[in-house]
Symmetry: C2
């Protein structure tokens, strides 16, 4: 009896341990697949804003069934890709201390540090604009744009930036031209290595007092 | 016999005349319906970039069958709306003699004259960007943008506009900010009556030599 009991407990323990191990492995597989899908989606959409779910599954080296198990629609996938790339951009902005030093210099530092990432995302922004409901893509940029708005407000207080136009419009100007440059570079109409400086010059000119 | 012959010819003539009259009426109806659809589509999409074919048919006071008879897809309809609104914009640009006088003044004149139309189209540009293949919307603006490019080139030759940035990028800046302002006004984030002047100031600052 005792032996039976010990054996039963032992077997149950082993089974539970096995199931836990299998569960952990399954979760690890799922996480690896999700990461591979998001990376492949970002790369594919950066080159072609119309890249399909089939294109993306192929680029991730996975089947369509696996892709759809994690992302039921192209819209869901685009939301996850956008969340990740915007989080990356926000991290880069935070790394260059946007709230320190002269506003004009902090602004230039921010544009220069963001551009390599932005240019790598190419037509991803255009893809998101096309796939997600109107206004959503801009709303999802609220966090990085809050840094832009703070730098502009600081530059206005310092007398380095113009105060005759609404600050919201100046933020829109920055947001719009950053993504337009990425689109132009993706389409081969703007040299990627020159675009960072071109953007910086254009935006500082638009922000300067008259 | 002669009577029969004359009668037959007369009857045939009448029938042909009747058919011709019916054909003319049918064509006139079709043209009236197409015009009503394009106007209703422009208005609906200016307010809501996601307006559906059903919304547009309702706004035009026509059935979906009639709508689809003229425009087999939303994409086809958007192309026609875009063609008409771009032609209207080009007409307005031509009316203010963009190739005459000082470039900076001609440029300001062009922006001021285009803005009321652009602001009326609200989110139509965003709707077209979402519905049509990547790059098509910009390509369809080639004609009005050729005027913008000519004014910028003239301003550079006059020393009024900057020469340190590629002219294509300056055209992109103008194109992008014009439509961003229309989007912002449509979303209620920019006052429509102030936006013309705001746009003019932003764009002239971006074009000015350093």
């Amino acid at each position: 009896m005792l032996f039976d009991y010990v054996y039963a407990v032992d077997m149950a323990h082993t089974a539970e341990h096995g199931a836990r191990k299998a569960g952990t492995r399954k979760r690890a597989d799922a996480e690896r697949n999700i990461a591979a899908i998001i990376t492949a989606a970002a790369d594919s959409l950066a080159r072609d804003p119309d890249a399909s779910m089939t294109d993306i599954a192929k680029a991730a080296g996975l089947g369509r069934v696996t892709l759809y198990a994690h992302f039921p629609s192209r819209e869901d996938l685009l939301r996850s890709v956008l969340a990740q790339t915007i989080a990356e951009s926000t991290g880069i902005i935070e790394a260059v201390s946007p709230d320190e030093g002269q506003a004009a210099e902090a602004f230039a530092r921010m544009i220069r540090s963001c551009w390599p990432l932005l240019s790598r995302f190419g037509s991803l922004h255009a893809a998101a604009q096309r796939a997600l409901p109107a206004g959503e893509v801009r709303r999802r940029h609220d966090q990085p744009m809050a840094y832009v708005e703070r730098i502009i407000a600081r530059g206005r207080a310092e007398g380095a930036f113009r105060t005759d136009l609404p600050v919201e419009w100046l933020v829109t100007t920055v947001y719009t031209l950053l993504h337009a440059a990425a689109d132009e570079a993706a389409a081969g109409r703007l040299a990627t290595d020159a675009a960072g400086e071109i953007l910086e010059k254009t935006l500082l000119a638009a922000l300067k007092p008259e």
